[in-house]
Amino acid sequence: MDDQQRLEALRAELASRGLSRAYIERLVAELDDHIADLANHLLNPASHLERNLDMSAARKPDYFVDNLGERIGTPTQLAIFAAEQYRARSFLGRHPILTFVMAPLPVFAALCLTYYLVVALPILAFVYLAEHVLGWPFAIEKHPWFGCGVLTFFSCDLVVLAPITTAWLLSRLAIRNAVNWRWPTVACALLAAVVAMVRFSWNLHPGPHQNGVFTIGFNVGSSAQWILLDWLPKFGLALAIGLALVWRARRPGDAQNSDGPATISTLPAA
């Protein structure tokens, strides 16, 4: 394998590990420079008298090619090491268990709350202004469509919007930091397991002089029937959506188009 084949093999190994295109090109360019310096060093020993080499052997091109792997490292070894160092740059790369096993549920809860507040606060503000500033009588109980809309949004937020956003966010973060795709998959499985247990129901008009009821919680059964017919299909559907997001995020085009660190991308071209 000559040096260019070696660099091409390295490029392919790095791409298969999800490193960004900017990073790969920079590493390969610097290694190319290094190999050129090394070749100059080995083939012109007079300019590098400090080296303790068998100079007659060093002048032979075969010697250079044969020793390149030993000195630089094989493409696989280099790619493994480069991916480790690349991941070590980010907190989530250094702590995948914390990020992809412990954090998804708090992130999911925070997103649920955020979505709810973003939608609910303007509506509540509108109702308050209508009643107290503009003087419009706005009795919520007389507008069932209003309650239905809010509760439908809240339910969708809980089982659709927030989990999908969480899965998408974690998948993108994993790919941008070259974290193994198995970690966001674990995160999606956890989310899917929890989302499949969420239960909610409402009855806005149970009867005259009775208040409407909205219940929300987790339904955890232990019977085989519950697991097979209730939880498992929902879990499967949620997991399939999560896996689709992970798969989409790790498409080569997406991964390689993601930006490398600014320090790399802003380097002037050679």
């Binding site: 590493l27 290694l31 420079d33 290094h34 068998d54 490292g73 320090t263």
Partner: protein, 118 residues
């Protein structure tokens, strides 16, 4: 010439060595590899290609600044230590000295692990 890789307990040493060498003057990757060999009498032998991912990581966390420059008629990425890198180097040197003293105490201590007395 066969190159022996260094044992696992040298994890973290490349970073310390690179920061220390760059504290003296800016260098590019190949220069750094040669400087390590010269300075250590080739006792420390890192895979030459492994220098670059470490440099890139240090650059990403702000310890180094890399810039493409023309050196001896060729374009190369020259690395410089930043102020953050100097602080990091101070911390790494202190940590290394602590480890070194601790290991020496064990190596030179008696059979009960007590430090050697002079």
């Amino acid at each position: 010439m066969a190159k022996n890789s260094n044992p696992d307990y040298l994890n973290g040493v490349p970073e310390l060595v690179l920061l220390q060498l760059l504290e003296r003057r800016p260098m590019y990757g190949y220069e750094l590899v040669r400087a390590i060999e010269r300075s250590t009498g080739e006792v420390l032998a890192f895979g030459e290609g492994c220098i670059y991912p470490v440099l890139h990581r240090l650059e990403a966390d702000g310890s180094l600044a890399g810039k493409r420059e023309t050196v001896q008629g060729r374009s190369r990425v020259v690395y410089r230590l930043t102020a953050g890198g100097r602080m990091r180097l101070v911390g790494r040197i202190a940590a290394w000295r602590n480890v070194s003293v601790a290991v020496n105490q064990i190596l030179l201590g008696d059979e009960h692990g007590r430090p050697a007395t002079t």
